[in-house]
């Protein structure tokens, strides 16, 4: 029993240390984002890898999600003769939830695992020690550019997913359900306008871009954290990539809930 208690205590202590290290890493990485020297070239390379590299998979994800959403909703809405509202349903679902969350999950699976594996293999092959031996701070060189890239690229990718998803829904609505494109698109716009505007921008659109900003930070920071803490050779690199994807996925879903709650309060009408 005492052994069990000691084991639990050790695990809890290890977890709390890990959480603390995670936030210290975040703090240092963000501080380096505003203090020179800057690694702009690395940042642009990372934007290309995370953003352009993820584009094909993101487009496919958005397209098929929009299509299946339209297809499923058409079956239910048809029972009430309400097929004309497919656009409202697809637009709201894509912009508010599915676009940001699915985009983040796909980027976590593709780019997040890649970042964890890359930094992890740098750790086990002493490349990070080599960086330090040349007077380079590995957080400034490796983590900060990736976090900046994630923060910039995720909102852009989410806009692509939203747009492609709505287009996918439009295809199904027009060619399978038989409603006209203008009715579908009118439904999408009505839904976005319904929640109100901040300036020229619909509140749903803003809420849909705040989330990916948070997700971009979470994915890159978590991947870098696991990469930097890789131990045990090539096996450790695999474990770091796996842990990164699992943790990112759980964090994305959990943070999505809290951000939704927050947005409902902050952006509530009136």
């Amino acid at each position: 029993m005492a052994g069990f208690a000691a084991n639990v205590e050790e695990r809890v202590r290890g977890m709390s240390t890990g959480v603390l290290e995670y936030f210290i890493l975040a703090g240092r990485a963000l501080r380096f984002a505003v203090t020179p020297p800057f690694y702009w070239r690395d940042t642009i390379v990372q934007m290309d890898r995370i953003g352009v590299g993820s584009l094909p998979i993101i487009v496919l994800t958005g397209l098929f999600t929009g299509m299946v959403l339209a297809l499923q909703s058409s079956v239910e809405l048809k029972q009430f003769g309400a097929e004309i509202y497919i656009g409202n349903l697809v637009g709201a679902s894509m912009v508010r939830e599915l676009g940001p969350v699915l985009c983040a999950l796909m980027v976590a699976g593709r780019a997040g695992s890649g970042i964890a594996a890359e930094i992890g293999s740098m750790r086990v092959t002493e490349q990070i020690d080599a960086l330090q031996s040349f007077g380079t701070d590995p957080i400034r060189k490796l983590v900060t550019p990736r976090i900046i890239a994630g923060l910039v690229v995720l909102p852009l990718l989410t806009m692509v997913v939203d747009t492609v998803g709505i287009m996918g829904g439009l295809l199904i609505a027009v060619f399978r359900v038989g409603i006209t494109p203008d009715i579908f698109l009118q439904g999408v716009l009505n839904t976005l306008a319904q929640a109100g505007f901040v300036g020229f921008f619909p509140k749903d659109f803003i809420s849909g871009l705040v989330k990916p900003l948070a997700f971009g930070g979470i994915i890159t920071l978590t991947a870098c954290y696991y990469g930097l803490n890789t131990k045990g050779g090539t096996e450790g690199v695999g474990a770091a990539a796996t842990s990164s994807v699992v943790t990112c996925s759980v964090l994305i879903l959990a943070v999505d809930y809290f951000l939704t709650q927050l947005m409902l309060v902050v952006l509530s009408p009136g």
């Binding site: 490349q127 031996s133 007077g135």
Partner: protein, 314 residues
């Protein structure tokens, strides 16, 4: 758990180095063996010789050691350093590296040899004891001061640790770019090509190659070129000959000696490859279970009567 041999103070080479009768007997037997095999050729007889004998022979044939023994001031000093991760790694290590000398830190795998190099670079900080480099206590340095310290030291890593995503040229140029001395691209190119030529690589052939396209020996050479690009005062080598074939090891040893001779750098060589170490080092520290158990010249180590040292030398 420390053994009796380890708990003893380091073997004083001057006091304990005495004729090794057992080795002498083995040498005599080996000599007899060689005579018997003369008809089969000198090569076969050499293969049959005792390993320790071969080391002695190499040392006798190679008088560079005396010339390399440095009398300079100590520039790296570890005093009673303790460090543990899950288990104790260093258990009261004290050593000294003098200016322009080459110190070999030998020992079995897992005895904390590479840890010593990481302490010198302040990649690790000791739990107790003192690590003093260039008259600075490394554990008292701020992060920025530690970065400045590292810029005065070059390190050749065990597996070269070249950056996979950068070409050979960019790998070697990396420390220069990081120093941000406002060098022109032309100056950087000249410096990189000069160092590549110094390590016997043809810049025109290797400049654009990625590390994955190089052989093990070439990677080591690029690693050395990168380590010396900033003209460091100290070069640290971590198992530099691990995984190399004997011919490449020979070339690498020549390169290390060329560095000593032509650039006059102070070197710390961590290895369990005794023959490589003896060919380049002026002094040897033997590490066992986290403690230095021998401090002396290669000749004194070969002549030492300590049973563990004899076993280690094979």
């Amino acid at each position: 758990m420390m053994t009796e041999e380890v708990d003893r103070p380091p073997v004083s080479a001057a006091q304990d180095a005495k004729p090794d009768d057992a080795a002498h007997e083995r040498r005599t037997e080996a000599g007899a063996g060689r005579r018997a095999e003369d008809s089969a050729g000198a090569r076969a007889s050499r293969e049959g010789a005792d390993h320790l004998d071969v080391i002695r022979e190499e040392l006798e044939n190679d008088r560079r050691t005396e010339a390399n023994v440095a009398e300079g001031r100590p520039i790296i000093r570890l005093e009673d350093v303790h460090l543990a991760f899950d288990l104790p790694v260093l258990d009261g290590v004290s050593l000294e590296v003098r200016e322009r000398e080459t110190l070999m830190v030998a020992g079995e795998s897992g005895t904390g040899k590479s840890t010593i190099l990481k302490l010198i670079l302040r990649l690790l900080v000791p739990e107790s004891g003192s690590v003093c480099v260039f008259d600075q206590e490394v554990q008292d340095l701020t992060f920025k001061e530690a970065l400045d310290l590292r810029r005065r030291i070059g390190m050749v890593f065990q597996n070269s640790a070249l950056f996979d995503s950068l070409s050979v040229f960019e790998n070697v140029a990396y420390p220069l770019r990081e120093r941000n001395d406002h060098l022109s691209e032309e100056d950087i190119r000249d410096a990189v090509h000069q160092r590549l030529e110094f390590v016997d690589l043809n810049p025109a052939q290797v400049d654009d190659q990625l590390p994955s396209q190089l052989s093990g020996g070439m990677k080591k050479r690029v690693g050395v070129a990168r380590a010396i690009i900033t003209d460091p005062e100290v070069v640290l080598y971590d198992e530099p000959t691990a995984g190399l074939d004997p011919l490449t090891i020979g070339k690498f040893n020549d390169l290390v000696r060329k560095l000593q001779r032509e650039l006059g750098v102070t070197s710390v060589l961590v290895t369990h490859d005794i023959r490589t170490g003896f060919r380049v080092a002026s002094r040897v520290n033997l590490l066992r279970e986290g403690r230095i158990v021998f401090d002396g010249t290669p000749e004194e180590m070969v002549a030492a009567d300590d049973p563990y040292i004899k076993r280690f030398l094979g």
